[in-house]
Symmetry: C2
């Protein structure tokens, strides 16, 4: 997937999942790829941003249009199975925070800089 999620104008929701992996793969990569495909099919899925450092600490932020969409994904049967495996096998520790995004912006405004029209890199979301 591309690293940045293209999200609509706020408000929308973010589920921030921070995790420390256990050692070894144990089917983790394949399941993560499958889950991403399944999440895309859930109405209200807006996108995902995810990275993991060499130390095994990772952050995944999943964006959703509504609390109902988050609830549907949380209850998805394949996701439930993965959550159970995650607790047993894949994660030494994790935290999940559910948040409502109020505003968003992006940068840098490299095209703007080239055009000589100012220093601001804080373009509106989607610009």
């Amino acid at each position: 997937m591309p690293p940045f999620a293209t999200t609509p104008e706020p408000p929308y929701y973010a589920v921030i999942f921070t995790s420390a992996r256990t050692e070894g793969d144990w089917g983790y990569r394949d399941t993560a790829a499958m889950l991403e495909e399944l999440a895309r099919e859930v109405p209200g899925y807006l996108g995902m941003e995810s990275t993991r450092g060499e130390d095994g600490f990772g952050i995944t932020v999943c964006y959703w249009a509504s609390e109902a969409a988050i609830a549907e994904w949380k209850a998805h049967i394949e996701h439930q199975a993965a959550q159970a495996r995650g607790r047993r096998e894949w994660y030494a520790h994790y935290k999940i925070r559910v948040a409502k995004v109020a505003r968003a912006y992006s940068g840098p405004a490299r095209k703007v800089l080239i055009a000589g029209s100012g220093e601001s890199g804080e373009l509106p979301e989607g610009a």
Copy 2:
């Protein structure tokens, strides 16, 4: 810093910063370390979680007690200078999303599992 931030019971705020680095360091690491020290001194700073993959894509989530604390940090003179350098030198692209955390939980409940008292890994925040 430890990878996980120890945050209080919600509500609180999360600033989700996703970024793609340019190539080379250009003083980035030193500045990032300095900024983390400075952010800690801002009243209402709750913690930070950050990671970057080998592909240069990174996610940093900074937690704050209030919108006022976020505004104070955004306007901090050293942070302003770093923001300008970030737009010019360090980031090929970034997105910032400001969100209000409504609920949080963590896992896995390895101690609970060992005690045989159930499968749930969704402990309340801080448990």
